[in-house]
Every structure is written in C-alpha cells, then in structure tokens.
C-alpha cells in the first residue's frame, strides 16, 4: 500500500487531495486567527476554505497523479526516466481513460472530451430556444435564463472550441513537422481535461476556473512553441511548414501574450471579492472601466485564438481537396502573424457604449477595419487556391467551403459592427448574436468538423461514412442559416439579446428560429452516430486515403506508437499538388543529389489531375 501511495497514480492523487483539504482548512484558520476572528460563527465564514480548497485540491490531484513528476525529477537532478514507455501509446480503448504520455492519445482524449461539452453546451442552447419560442415565460425564469446563456457561452468557448483545437493540433502537429512526440514539457501537462471539468458556474467558480484553464492553456501553448521551434525534421524550414503548424504557432503566441491578462482580471475580481481589495471600488479610488479594458485586451485576441487554428485546418483541406498548391503560401503565413499583432490593437471596439473616453473610439474603429485586411488576404488566397482546381467535394471539403462562405458573412457583419454609429445602434441586440454565431459556428465549428472528418482516418484507422457525412453537412448548413440569418433582421429591428422575454412583434421570427435550431441540434446527432459507428466498424483506412503530401499521411493509419521509425527528411514544400515529381518528405537519410530546393510558393505551373 505504501508503495502505491508513493508512486504516481490514483492512490497518491487521493492522498494528496485529502492533505490539500486539511491544508485549506488550516491555512484559512491560521490567517483568520492572525486577523483576530478565531471562530467560524456562520457557515458562510467558511468561504475562505472553499476558495483555498478550490485552488489547492485540483493542484494536489495533478501532483498526485504524476503530472509534475517530470519537472520535480528534472529540477532535483534525478534521471527523468525517458526509457519508461509504459504510459505511452494506447493498446486498448481502456488506455484512453488513463494518463498517457503519447501526444496522439492525449490529442484524442482532448478531442473526445471536448465534443462531450459541445453536446452539453448545445443542449443548453436548445433549452434557451424552447423558452424563446414564444413571448412570455415558458419554462425558466429570468435568472435561470441568465445562468443558461452564461454557462452556454463559457462551456462552448473554454471547454469546447479552445481545447478541441488544442486536441486536434496535439495529434496532428508533431506528425506533420516530423517530431516523434511533443516537446520536452510534454510529460507534465496531460491535465487539461480533468482540470477543465472542475470549472462549474457561479462567479467565484468561473473566476478560479478561468485561472486554471488559463494556466493550462499557457502551458499547452509553450509546449507547441517549443515543439515547433526545436523539433522540426531536418529540412523542415519555417517556410516548408504546413500552414497548420504556422496557425498553431501564431495561436500559441497569442495565448502566451494575451492569457495573462484575463488571469489577472479574474485575480482582481477575486481579491476584491474575497479580501476586500479596492481595484473596482470607485468610492475608494478604484476604476470599474479598467476591468473591461483588461478583460477585452485578452478577449479580442481570444476570438482569434478560436479562429486561427481553424484557418490552419482549412488550408490543409483546401489544398489537398483542390489538388493545387496553396495560393500565396508566404502571404498566408505572414497574414497570420499580422493578425497576432493587430489583434492587440482593437480591444475597445467592444466598449463603444461602455462610457469610456470618447477619443479612443475613432482609433479603435480604424484598427478594427484594418484587421479585416489580413483576414481578407486569407479568404482571397483560399479562393485563388480553388480557382481551376480539381475539386473533390467530399465531406471535409464541403465543410471547408461552408466555412469560407459563412465566415465571410460573419466577417462582413463584424466590419459593420466596427463602425461606431451602427454599433451603438445594434449593441446588445440580436445582431451581435448573429455576428458571434456566424464567426464561431459558421467559422470555428465548421473548421472543426472539416478537420475531424479529414483526420478521422488517421486518428482511428477507419473511414467515416461518406453518405452520412454529406447529410450532416447539408442539414447543418441549411438549419444553421435558418437559425441565425433572421437574427440580423430582428437585431436591427431592436430585439435585445440576453433576455428571456420580448415584445410580441418578434414572435413570428422567434418561433421560426426556435424550430430551425431544434433541427440544427438534431443534425448533430447524425455526426455523433457517424463517428461512433465508424470508429467501431468502419472500413479500414489506408495510410493515405486523400493522397496528401504532408508527413502525417506518410505513416500508417493509425500511426505507430512512436510516430516514425526514423525521423523523415523534408526536401520540398508541403502543398506541391499537381506539380510533377514533387516530394515533401522522404524516409531515410537524404542523399545530397535528391535534395532539390523547392521552397513552398516557388512551384512550377500545376498540372491538372
């Protein structure tokens, strides 16, 4: 038993959690004694225990289960046991329920857990639409409704979109750049999913949950950056990297730079609330507006954290499915970096009606209009990639094309919102809801679907059902538009967002929207069925069903436990589709004669296949 308690695992995790609970109580008691209140007069006085506990318990759990062992070993100079591969790779489905050190297993764990939260968040949306189907009160009261949409948003942003992108990239990216695993920090961060599931609702819970989610997403981002910079295969120069790697590089930079701001903003809230600090107490010289500035300084870049990885997925899918080199490869890479930089200059466009200093409005309006430029460059480059390509219109491609159209609509409503007069008119109306969903559902979620279908054969070794995939796409596209397009209209007519009840004049549209949204919900079930059934009994997938050039398709499906027997050598760009004799990577050491320099972008005229 004592060995079990000393070695990493569930037993030690349990022990540490108990110790942390004792510590939480002890610390709270000691601090209170120091301040002179030595008894807990009321149940509510125990709040400090809850707060310390909420920070200490998850940490203790992670330490116990062994997430930080690598660091402790490294810092104390003991061998970090690189030869122990017992926790590496999945040999049966049970291995997916254990901590693992294989980036592929972790990636699938993230992805599947995140999809669970997609269904949770979607169900909440259905509840809201049920309430909104008619004016007046149906099922829930105003405060429950309030809770519903807050949790709906936080669950889908923090527990679905951000982690699912991290999951997909975690699976694909090391394979793509020819690394045997994630970077050297990899052993210490299997923690995202168990961490995130501890983020329930309520202000304090939200606050602390964000701290944890923030810390783990920074850890993840550092991992990606270190992996991309230091572990690329020989010959894989920055400008031979697939754009998915570029996209995750840019996203990780955004995370590393921006996330500390939301962590700090939640820290201010916590200090004010729990210890009586005065960051936001105007009566004592604090400043409420400061919260909004700090919050949006993170949260605008955050919308790109939710979008750039999707841009990467689309570049992969479009080039392969159009059988053409990506148009303007370098511009694609540089526009990602431009978005990273410009993303930090526009935060106050969320505050036009907040009572902030008026002089900030015009500069923010201009920068917001400018940030649409690199995004536009990407859209036009994708269109040019499609131009005269040989389009293979299967499910991943359909979702990619769906993304292109829907996201463009969302971007256009975004630029409209950047115009101060219009924004003041439609702020806090359904127009905003429409914008958000065209960019997040029509944008991010469509790219996620495209990516999941595209890499499904690689991840599971099975093919998905193409017919069900197409049914899923068309029903999603139609009901998505039926749900969200009318919201532009009722928004401009003045229907406020975040309310459980509304004026009778909007009744007709709202009923239609609710019905469409239920159909949209149902269409997701087709996806769920397809994924589960195909994973269990789909046809076996070949190593490279899409005839793609990037490295992840050059190994078996699913890939071997250690990705490569030997790290490949990269001799050309990743998107030379239709270029005769083009090679991206070769296995075995390159003979000097074979290495012909074809950096991406400088390709010959493509040949139609």
């Amino acid at each position: 038993m004592s060995v079990k308690l000393r070695n990493p695992g569930w037993y030690r995790a349990g022990l540490y959690v108990v110790l942390a609970a004792v510590l939480a109580f002890g610390l709270s008691w000691a601090v209170r004694a120091a301040y002179g209140h030595d008894t807990y007069a009321h149940f509510l006085d125990a709040e400090s225990i809850v707060i310390i506990g909420m920070i200490a318990l998850p940490l203790a759990f992670l330490v116990g289960i062994g997430c930080f062992d690598y660091w402790f070993y490294w810092a104390s100079g003991r061998p970090t046991r690189p030869e122990d591969h017992s926790g590496h790779g999945a040999h049966s489905w049970r291995d997916y329920f254990r901590p693992n050190t294989d980036h592929k297993v972790i990636g699938i764990q993230y992805t599947v857990t995140s999809f669970f939260f997609l269904f949770v968040g979607g169900l909440m949306a259905m509840l809201m639409r049920a309430e909104l189907a008619q004016p007046g009160r149906q099922f829930v009261d105003a405060s429950t409704f309030n809770g519903l949409f807050s949790v709906h948003a936080s669950v889908l942003i923090f527990l679905f979109i951000i982690p699912v992108f991290a999951g997909l990239a975690n699976f694909v990216l090391p394979l793509m750049i020819g690394a045997p695993d994630m970077g050297s920090f990899a052993s210490g961060w299997t923690a995202y999913a168990p961490l995130s599931t501890t983020a329930p609702d309520g202000q304090v819970f939200f606050t602390i949950g964000v701290q944890f989610a923030g810390a783990s997403s920074i850890a993840t981002a550092l991992n990606f950056l270190v992996t991309i910079i230091t572990m690329r295969a020989p010959g894989m120069s920055f400008f031979r990297m697939p754009l998915l790697a570029w996209a995750n590089f840019s996203t990780s930079l955004l995370v590393v730079i921006a996330t500390p701001f939301i962590a700090a903003s939640q820290f201010f809230v916590l200090l004010d609330w729990a210890l009586g600090f005065n960051f936001f107490n105007a009566a004592k010289g604090g400043d409420v507006l400061m919260y909004q500035h700090v919050f949006w300084f993170y949260s605008h870049p955050a919308v790109y954290i939710m979008m750039l990885p999707g841009f990467g997925i689309i570049s992969e899918v479009l080039a392969v499915k159009a059988r053409k080199p990506i148009f303007g490869y370098r511009m694609m890479a540089f526009s990602l970096l431009a978005i990273v930089v410009l993303g930090f200059t526009v935060w106050a466009h969320h505050m036009f009606v907040s009572g902030m200093q008026a002089w900030i409005r015009i500069p923010m309006m201009v920068t917001t209009a400018i940030i649409a430029v690199p995004t536009g460059i990407k859209i036009f480059s994708w269109l040019a990639t499609l131009w005269r390509g040989v389009l293979h219109l299967d499910t991943p491609m359909l979702f990619a094309l769906g993304f292109l159209t829907m996201f463009t609509l969302g971007g256009i409503s975004g630029v409209m919102l950047a115009m101060v007069p219009l924004d003041i008119h439609v702020s806090d109306t359904y127009f905003i809801v429409a914008h958000i969903h065209y960019v997040l559902f029509g944008g991010s979620l469509f790219t996620i679907f495209a990516g999941v279908y595209y890499w499904f054969p690689k991840m599971t070794g099975r093919m998905y059902d193409e017919r069900l995939g197409r049914i899923h796409f068309w029903s999603t596209l139609i009901f998505f538009n039926a749900t969200f397009a009318p919201m532009h209209l009722i928004g401009v007519q003045g229907m406020p967002r975040r309310v459980a009840d509304y004026a009778d004049q909007f009744a007709g549209w709202n009923l239609a929207i609710s019905l469409a949204s239920f159909a949209l919900g149902l269409s997701t079930l087709v996806f769920a069925y397809n994924m589960i059934a195909s994973w269990r009994g789909g046809a076996r997938a070949s190593a490279n069903p899409w005839r793609a050039l990037t490295l992840e398709w050059q190994v078996s499906s699913p890939p071997p436990v250690f990705n490569f027997d030997q790290v490949p050598t990269v001799v050309g760009g990743p998107y030379e589709y239709g270029v005769p004799g083009a090679v991206h990577g070769i296995f075995g050491p390159a003979k000097p004669a074979e290495v012909k320099a074809t950096p991406a972008g400088t390709h010959a005229e493509p040949v139609r296949e």
Binding site: Y70, P180, I229, G285, G286, M290
Partner: protein, 207 residues
Amino acid sequence: MEAAAISASHVHDDHHHGPPPANRSSRVEPALLGMLLFIISEIMVFGAFFTAYFFIRVVADEGTWFPVDGKDLPKLIAGVNTAILISSSFTLHWAENALKLGNRRAFRAGMVATFLLGATFLFVQINEYVHIGFSPQDHAYGTVFYGLTGLHGAHVTIGLVLLGMVTIRAFRGHFSAEEHRGVEVPGIYWHFVDVMWIVVYTTVYIL
C-alpha cells in the same frame, strides 16, 4: 535539456524500443526557450497589474498618489532593498562564471550569497508591509501598491525556491563546467525578477 541528452546517449543501444531521437532544429535549448517564452507571459501578468496601476493613478482620480492620508512610501528603505536585490544578480552571474571555469568553491559561495541576498530582500519587504500603516482594504492606492509589490514578492519567492534547489544541488556535487543548464535556466528567471523590481520600484515609489 537533460532528458534529451539521456535519450541521445542511448541511441546506440540496440535493444532500444523508444522513439527515434528527435531532430534538433534550433540551436536554442528547449528548456531555455521554454523559460524565455514563459517570461514573456510573466511580463504580461505584470503588464495587467501596471494597467490597473495606470487606471487607478492616472485615469480614475486625476493623479492622486502617495502620500495618501498622510502616509508615504518608504522610498529610502526600499531603495536600499533594491540595491540588495540587484547585487544578488551580480553574485549569481559570478557563481555561473565560476562554475563554467570549474571553480566549484566559488560557485557554491556565489549561490549561497545569492540566496541570502534574495531572502533578505523578501524579509525587508515583509517588514515594510508590517510598518507601512495602511492596508489594501483602505483605498485603491493601497490595493495597487500591495498588488504590484505582492505580485513581485510572489515571484521572488518562486525564484528563491528555484535557487534553493540549485544551491542544495550545488552542495551535492551536481553540475559541472559542461553541464550548467540547470543553473542557467533558473538564473534567467532570477534576473527577470530583478529587472522587474527595478520597474516596479521606479513606477510605484519614485515617480
């Protein structure tokens, strides 16, 4: 990083069933790079606190700052404390150089000196809190003062833990003129903590 070094030394082992060694595509050590990127994150945390400082001092109340309610900040003591902390950066640098030259005695002495200087800084800082005469609950200026110096103090504490481990390992005979990554990476963090203090001291106490 040591893990890489260890697995690299096993490459010639025929019974090896682990991953193929990763290609090293950058001359920068992964651990070093990770630390540098992490420091960017840390700078942004301080950035958020400085934003709060800026809003509360400049925007909210038109330039109200200490002395508030007749209580001023102890510029002089904090100045001496600043000198203490900065000198610890020099002793650390000296220790690292000594290690690279193979002078273990000087290395150990330098580490102990660095650790003690850092601990002194923290001690003086806590003493300052006790005698300063206002609390973060009194007004927003106190909140920002405790917020910024406290945040920095937390970083000093983390830095001290790292340095403490290095010091203990120094006495156990770890590290050598060739293997000094484990000193360098925490060292960079410590230099960062020092530089950050200069910024905090100038903005909060002097300006």
